[in-house]
């Protein structure tokens, strides 16, 4: 069944897809931080981090991921270090002590939300 507006008019599929994209983006935003923090329990530099997330099924655009790493570092959740690897200087990131603590709290919150959603969806189903 097509989604309808309040006055009963049927929305076209283009605006429906647009709405889905916008809601999906909103949903993903918080999850990305959690995924990045989780992945950086092990040291990575930008490109390998993106690759490892993609291999785990979570594609992130470079232009989203790299600034996010900077922001998380400024917030004290990550530490970084420039180091030479394969004859090239690269910036390696990993979770800081504060980051580990916040990651633990966020993960617990995520699990709570996930469990609640599961219960709600099953109940409604």
């Amino acid at each position: 069944m097509e989604p309808t507006t309040k006055d009963g008019a049927v929305k076209d599929s283009a605006s429906s897809a647009e709405l889905f994209d916008s809601l999906r983006l909103e949903l993903r935003r918080g999850c990305l931080v959690l995924a990045v923090l989780a992945q950086l329990r092990k040291e990575h530099y930008g490109y390998t981090l993106r690759k490892s997330l993609a291999e785990a099924g979570l594609e992130i655009e470079e232009s989203t991921l790299y600034p996010l790493l900077r922001r998380l570092e400024q917030q004290g959740l990550l530490t970084s270090e420039w180091r030479e690897e394969e004859k090239r200087n690269k910036r390696f990131y990993r979770l800081s002590a504060a980051g580990q603590q916040i990651f633990g709290l966020l993960l617990a919150e995520w699990n709570r939300i996930n469990d609640s959603l599961d219960r709600i969806v099953q109940k409604e189903g």
Partner: protein, 338 residues
């Protein structure tokens, strides 16, 4: 790798100065790694088209650089509702102030009535620039506040509020006070004062072209008008702050009483008019018949004001009783809730 250098140069142009070199070095390392990885997969060097595809997928330089900025908005989500509220509330007041100043300038300034339309047109034409400036100043003020909070002064915290401080339920939906109608009422009242102030020096404002006929008439306004005129102006001016106070959300509870106060001032104007026994007097020798007619006109006007006063007093008394009853009803509701 020339394409990569050009791409990084374009990104660099838009990056924040602080940390620019560091960001570029990291970006270069990541992009080179990606290209090398792709070359390993293909077992050969990337063509220029393939290099371009990698860079284009990474994003437009200006957008990529903008994501490294610390703040992407002038007014953040916490402050924005207050910014919007301020704009909505202050805009009608700005329009009112502009209209009053412009009307005063037009009516009290020198010039004939012939170019009145032209001057009004000029004032209206200047309004978009004034409105835009007003919007710019308010926006800039909030943007500076947004930038400064947390840096130069503590972050804004929302004031404590209680649901009990909210205005009582409006039982009469049809009489719900609208801010726009209140602002329009205030604006019109201010214009009336300006208009009345301008009438003595510009009589055409009250009679139009008929003012020329008036010069040949055998009667004129009595000297009493000189006193009455200023009393009426004083009462009309006294209404303005009351009407302005009615627009304030914090005085919503007192709106009924403020309205009554405005009506009381209106009744006082009628009282003054009723006390004027003679509105017009003969300014030259006129016949007995014309004198009787003039007397009849004066009596008729006084009677009309008396009727208007009687009706207004009855309406005022009824509304006063309703307001007192509503106040008691509100107090009872409050006690019941407690």
């Amino acid at each position: 790798m020339e394409l990569l250098k050009r791409y990084l140069q374009a990104v660099e142009e838009h990056l924040p100065v602080r940390g620019r070199e560091d960001t570029l070095a990291e970006l270069r390392a990541n992009l080179e790694s990606e290209m090398e990885c792709r070359e390993e997969e293909l077992g050969r060097s990337l063509t220029e088209t393939e290099q371009a595809a990698v860079l284009e997928r990474h994003g437009m330089p200006v957008l990529v650089a903008s994501r490294y900025g610390s703040q992407h908005f002038l007014i953040g989500p916490t402050l924005f509702p207050m910014y919007w509220y301020t704009l909505k509330r202050s805009f009608p007041l700005m329009v009112l102030a502009y209209a009053a100043v412009q009307m005063a300038g037009i009516l009290l300034g020198s010039g004939s009535g012939a170019d009145l339309g032209h001057r009004i047109g000029e004032s209206v034409g200047r309004f978009p620039a004034v409105a835009l400036t007003f919007w710019g100043i308010v926006t800039l003020g909030f943007a500076v506040f947004e930038y400064g909070q947390g840096r130069f002064f503590p972050k804004l915290t929302l004031p404590k509020w209680s649901v009990r401080d909210l205005p009582p339920l409006d039982h009469d939906q049809n009489k719900r006070h609208s801010f726009a109608s209140g602002a329009a009422d205030l604006m019109v009242s201010a214009l009336i004062v300006v208009w009345l102030l301008a009438v003595p020096s510009h009589p055409y404002l009250i009679l139009g072209p008929g003012v020329k006929i008036l010069h040949g008439m055998p009667f004129e306004l009595t000297p009493e008008w000189h006193v009455v005129y200023w009393q009426i102006i004083g009462l009309l001016v006294a209404m303005l702050p009351l009407k302005a106070a009615m627009l304030l959300p914090s005085l919503r509870r007192a709106r009924g009483w403020l309205q009554l106060a405005v009506k009381a001032l209106g009744i006082m104007i009628l009282v003054i008019m009723v006390q004027v026994r003679m509105f017009f007097v003969a300014n030259s020798a006129i016949s007995a018949g014309s004198l009787r007619s003039l007397d009849g006109i004066n009596s008729g006007i006084t009677l009309a004001f008396k009727i208007a006063l009687a009706i207004s007093v009855v309406i005022f008394a009824w509304e006063l009783w309703k307001e007192i009853a509503a106040g008691q009803h509100r107090r009872t509701d409050y006690v019941a809730v407690l």
